[in-house]
Amino acid sequence: MSFFRFSRSKFSGDFIFEAVVGLFALGILILAFFLFRELFIGSELSRNTFGLNFLATTTWDPVNEIFGALPFIFGTIVSSFLALVIAVPFSIGIAIYLSELAPPKLRTPLSFIIELLAAIPSVIIGLWGIFILAPFTRDYLAPPLSTYLGFLPLFQGPMYGLSMLTGGVILAIMIIPITSSVSREVIMTVPVQQREAALALGATGWETTRIAVLPYARSGIFGAVILGFGRAIGETMAVTMVIGNSPRISESLFAPSYTMASVIANEFVEATSGLYVSSLIEVGLLLLVVSIIINIAARVLVWKLLRVEGGGRA
């Protein structure tokens, strides 16, 4: 818009500078456009061959060239959901502790340490997952689950170390830093008067959090959770290394599974035929679209809250 405004004024250094940096800003949109365009064109063959059946077929057969992404969609959704089930209570607990209940001196170092977890490369978490976490879930986490909750189909069958359960746990570990730090930021935007009012009425620290802080921050925390879900869906290496990579849909969390991101990571280089490559690109397109939508939803929720704070409603 401002280009037109400036073009009416005289051709100045300011105009050139704004145009140049504006072009780079436009580069962001071009980048987004290219992401979609490349995957859209690349997946054309697969989209034309399988149509919407691609999303509903469970066969993944490179030899006979029949491709259906359902097992991967299933694996991605279940593993990410499992990650949320584990990570959300922890993240909210962490956010509450670090913003409300912890001694002020501990807050900065502790949140720094939690955020450090996000800095560790996915491939190293995966390496740790193969050799430490997978045996741990097999030997210590799965037996009690099958003993006490074995009546559920979720916890039946033999437990292999590399399984949906391990994948979910490792994803939970990886999304806790982002979910908890965004929740914490959101909680810290709650106006201090809100807390003071509760404290003045004689509420304890936890009561203040429960009555005055959490209801105010609810939608923002929900945004943080969705953001974590988006991260979990797109996470590749660590999951690929521990989920077992078997394209079957199983009721049991103890069985190996496969995710959209890991099928791409494993098979893209080896994909020989055009249709095979194209199918994998369509999986990637799906992944991109879903995670962009999820991110937009999360941003809208978080932004709305931050804007409320800016507007000073209290």
């Binding site: 980048l31 209940l101 991110n295």
Partner: protein, 311 residues
């Protein structure tokens, strides 16, 4: 006077509750203790404990990762590991020298592409971005920070690898820059928005043109914050594996040029980790140690430097 007032107030309260205790009155202003208070205090303690437990449990994986990487990686590291080429299975010795070199090259290419675009786009968003276009770009950059890394790899593949018909270092750099640009844009925008407008106004009042003000005054003031953001983005992409699997691919030899496949540390760790050979597992741990040390030094160092400067 004041004491009388308090007593009256207290009597009122206690009458309302029907719990007048003469000794309480004689001690001055103090509300009678509600028995429910203990329960509430207890719940407060329990919830604080649970919240603290969440933090503790979340830190355990981090400590476990650091411990296993150090204890498994340290014995496998020596000069050979850093300077030699990988050897085939069964042959002892050898190292990941080429992968370390390759990581620097690919990340360097990503920086050459990503930093200028990211920083200049961030300058636009903070200085001229108060319009619909600017807000939309800012929103898109924010959303793009959630791009799955494997998708960035696919775009590097379809754009560069298919075009040059070969895996290459430059394709890896492009894939990483796709992840880097949105991050750098947003951190630059945020850091420049913190530059006080009084500084800008002072410069403009001296008759310095707007673009020079932005370039020298605003960028100069926000410089260290931008560098902090850029270094954190570099730390973030240095460990990325998924975008490199089918862009820079891998290579058993020293780097041969940016149009050739190139070995990188993360991909090499992954390749070694999923093999059944204990010797290669040891190498994977050693590679992980080197990578984690590089990234954590960058990460922690930058944060500490930034805190000293701004805090």
């Amino acid at each position: 006077m004041e004491k009388d007032y308090n007593l009256v107030f207290e009597d009122d309260v206690q009458n309302a509750r029907g719990t007048i205790h003469p000794p309480a009155i004689s001690r001055g202003f103090s509300l009678p203790i509600d028995p429910r208070r203990y329960k509430r205090k207890l719940i407060d303690r329990i919830m604080s404990f649970l919240a603290a437990a969440c933090v503790t449990i979340a830190i355990i994986p981090l400590l476990s990762i650091l411990y296993t990487v150090i204890s498994n990686g340290l014995p496998a590291i020596d000069m050979d590991f850093i300077t030699q080429l990988p050897r085939p299975v069964g042959e002892p010795g050898g190292g990941l020298g080429n992968a370390i070199e390759g990581t620097f090259i690919v990340v360097g290419i990503a920086c050459l592409i990503g930093l200028p675009i990211g920083i200049l786009a961030g300058v636009y968003l903070s200085e001229y971005g108060e319009n619909r276009f600017g807000r939309f770009v800012s929103f898109m950059a924010d959303v793009l920070t959630g791009t799955p890394s494997i998708v960035a790899g696919m775009v590097g593949y379809t754009l560069i690898v298919l075009y040059f018909k070969s895996f290459s270092a430059i394709a890896g750099g492009v894939a990483l820059s796709v992840l880097m640009i949105p991050i750098v844009t947003r951190t630059t925008e945020e850091s420049l928005k913190l530059v006080p407008s009084s500084i800008k106004e002072a410069s403009l009042a001296l008759g310095i043109p707007g673009w020079k003000t932005t370039l020298y005054i605003v960028l100069g003031t926000g410089k260290s914050a931008i560098i902090t953001g850029a270094l954190l983005a570099i730390a973030r992409i240095s460990g990325e594996t998924a975008p490199l699997l089918f862009t820079s691919f891998g290579n058993m030899f020293w780097a041969g040029g940016i149009d050739k496949p190139i070995s990188t540390l993360p991909v090499q760790i992954y390749t070694y980790a999923i093999t059944p050979f204990p010797d290669w597992h040891a190498k994977a741990w050693a590679g992980a140690l080197i990578l984690i040390v590089m990234i954590l030094i960058l990460n922690i160092g930058v944060r500490f430097a930034a805190r000293k400067k701004f805090g």
